[in-house]
Subunit: 141 residues, 2 copies
């Protein structure tokens, strides 16, 4: 349930040969601190006074996704939202559809299921998406 810390992401970025710039720093900090699934525009508004351009936000989000420091989630109809996450572990999310707060589901229970599906469907399973959506304690209030 503990989300990634900005510093880990900073280090990961740099160790992979990317520069730790001000816009990147701010996007990472915001994404981690808010622990919610944020759109590019959400970030742009939160960072309005820091004057980070939308283009840089999109570019940073792409980069973070590539490095597995963030993951895109898309519910139909909505724009893409991004969630900060730890790169080293496979996990899934539960996401509040009111405030977009996110909690991690640490274990993945689907490996045996994927196996069963491979036998049954004659597909090779390469990846899966598992997201739970609901209402968090705060929004239920």
């Amino acid at each position: 349930m503990i989300r990634n810390k900005p510093r880990n992401a900073f280090a990961e970025l740099q160790s992979r040969g990317h520069k730790l710039t001000q816009p990147r720093r701010l996007v990472i900090e915001t994404l981690v601190n808010q622990s919610r699934a944020m759109t590019a525009d959400d970030l742009h508004q939160v960072l309005a006074e820091r004057k980070v351009s939308l283009a840089s936000i999109y570019r940073t989000l792409d980069l973070l996704a590539e490095l597995h420091l963030a993951e895109p989630v898309r519910q139909s109809g909505d724009e893409a939202r991004y969630v900060a996450c730890r790169p080293e572990q496979h996990h899934h999310h539960i996401i509040c559809t009111r405030c977009w707060q996110v909690a991690d589901i640490d274990s993945c229970l689907l490996e045996p299921v994927a196996k069963a599906i491979e036998d049954d469907s004659h597909f090779d399973v390469e990846s899966h998406v598992l997201e739970f959506y609901g209402c968090c304690a705060n929004c239920r209030g």
Copy 2:
């Protein structure tokens, strides 16, 4: 593994007070017969000689989703794709990322998992998305 039949969808549409028009008929037939996850543009190309407008295709897809006769799936970076499905049952999909062919996974194994998550995270789970992606027997070749 058997997909919905067009006629069921035709009937469902009409019984809910919608007109069974030529464009709608063609979109439904195509979506069901091809049994793949199709973009609006895929449908537009397949139906090119039948002169169905893109606008009608989008409107029909929205309607089908609303009636649970089709479901949108979005993989990051891609446009929305739609899968024909039976409205009466909860199920999930396995989707080939080469040819976008779809097979159904009839049972839902996640109800107990959702319960466990509710206890653990203090979220009310309202819905979930479970999609497996992989390579079908045909594309594996």
